[in-house]
Assembly symmetry: C2
Homo-oligomer: 338 residues x 2
């Protein structure tokens, strides 16, 4: 047990981010408060809507507050524009609470790019970090997902950034996911250290010489195989893989629908199959993992999918609490400035 | 009908490439000969084994020949080493037949890297080609697959190469796949022309100005959605996606097996589900497309999966025939040297 476990922890919630805001955000936030006397949540967003939603849930506790914000950053907003024109948004004001020390962490199921860029600008990068990074949890055939990063913070494939992602991913996996000595793999086009671009080859060399549990290059097929706990790649490749992976279930559903529409027997076959298939594929539901950390900024930020359920929101809050309790930002600083 | 359709066409087959060589290669080759009086196949490899396999098939036709080769390039061979030390291999001698004009095309289910590098060195690049390319067919929700290229010829992301891949992919799709005015998409991290690396942004500009039916940037999710007929990317990204995609069915099988082993009812549910699922996922079987062209070398080369079935081998031969009949190499030369 960490000595900080009893300290009051304040987590700000972007109550207006996400496709089902503020409902899922409010339910998830209130659920997170249960059995956590040390927790306070700050709902940031339209006060009237938030109050109404809380009231509808019949919640009577006092361990939350509301910070009114008149604007909303939508999924379609350009992050660079939003940061200038929407300073009274729930997203901006929530991150600002972390900056001022009024909150220990911030979670959002809103516009990922806007959370990333606003956090980087308001909170600043941890010393030693060239590029903050955001990853994604990938389901594997093993009993836990792997963390693929970067998936979009920086499209440039630079060995220095790849090295930073590896360090930050490993510290997160060890501290927050509880993985002892996590295996780090570098994504490339072959297992041999000689395979890949010049930057990847250089990153391989740097990682070999690091204190990380570096297992060498891994390939596309290793991601779902769970060969390593951390899969390091540039944000261009990571983003393409993430969107490609997310499209699998959509395609599968579409193929099943097409098949089902070709006759009554097919419809019956599909009806018999789908419940089983859903059970089998539940690990492929991105909701399960409830958000990913933005690593490398001075603050505890968790970003979730726009479709985040109340459970996903609650999980995101729990992650932000753990990041606070474990003093993750400081641990990242130490690891990057040895 | 092309005026060349009645000309004798000779296709060399790497009878020793592939995991089931020479059996699948021989069956596929003999099947391809049926109803094609203009076709001659040349089986390249161990004469004794090939003769025995042909005899076992009870084939009595005369429209084939055997070129003995004493060596075999294995899947594990380093292409750079193989080209120097295995000049009496079926792979090397088969490509050499194309070089000398003794064959119009060559197909192999063997070591992809070795076929690529040996072809590039022996046959040379088409004028105007900086990097020959190999693609892969990706299943889509539409009625035809998309062609993703490059998937491994060159790991460097250069706008000039991306442009060449686009041209070669489009010509192949139009001439061989019969797609009129194929849509070309450039893989990036967002639809906007401003998204991606500097090289991708530059490629977007070059492609906008080209005569191709360029639809702009596409994202990871567009590959299986079939948004474009051709998906252009660097070989690093393409290789990672290909291996990631190929691993999906493996993972699905593994998850189904795990589920099935948890109790008799689960076993029953799986037994009921699997036949339907197989039908639905048949497009995801990479065998269907039977090999991909190596584009940009002076010769008609088709490379197939190591596990190629006899049908896949036959399809590969048919593709090589079409490339010959359509004079594809010359069409690529013209398109690249306008």
């Amino acid at each position: 047990m960490n000595s900080n476990d009893n300290k009051v922890i304040k987590i700000a919630i972007d109550a207006m981010g996400g496709d089902f805001a503020p409902l899922n955000e409010v339910i998830g936030g209130l659920n997170a408060l249960k059995n956590k006397p040390y927790l306070e949540v700050i709902f940031v967003g339209d006060e009237t809507q938030i109050k109404k939603t809380i009231s509808e849930q019949g919640y009577s506790g006092k361990n939350y507050s509301i910070l009114h914000a008149s604007q909303v950053v939508t999924m379609k907003d350009d992050p660079a524009v939003a940061i200038k024109t929407k300073k009274d948004s729930s997203l901006y004001k929530g991150i600002d609470l972390v900056k001022s020390g009024s909150a220990d962490g911030f979670i959002s199921a809103g516009n990922t790019g806007a959370v990333m860029s606003t956090s980087t600008i308001l909170l600043g990068r941890i010393k030693g970090v060239g590029r903050p990074t955001i990853g994604t949890f990938m389901p594997t055939v093993k009993d836990r997902p792997s963390l693929l990063l970067d998936v979009g913070a920086s499209v440039d494939q630079k060995s220095r950034f790849l090295y930073e992602y590896a360090i930050m991913g490993a510290i997160y996996a060890e501290q927050i996911l509880g993985i002892n000595n996590p295996k780090v793999g570098l994504l490339s086009v072959g297992e041999e250290a000689s395979k890949g671009t010049e930057e990847v080859k250089l990153a391989n060399k740097i990682l070999q010489e690091s204190e990380l549990n570096f297992i060498g290059n891994v390939e596309g097929r290793d991601i779902l195989a769970g060969t390593s706990d951390i899969v390091v790649c540039d944000g261009f490749t990571g983003n393409v893989i993430l969107k490609f992976a997310e499209s699998f279930l959509t395609v599968l559903k579409s193929k099943i629908k097409d098949f089902s529409e070709r006759g009554i027997f097919n419809k019956l076959k599909v009806a018999l199959m789908v419940p089983t298939l859903k059970l089998i594929l539940k690990d492929f539901d991105y909701q399960t993992y409830g958000g990913v950390p933005l690593l490398g900024v001075n603050g505890n930020i968790i970003i979730g999918h726009g479709k985040s359920s109340p459970i996903a929101i609650e999980n995101m809050i729990n992650r932000a609490i753990e990041m606070t309790q474990k003093d993750l930002t400081n641990k990242l600083f130490e690891a990057l400035n040895k």
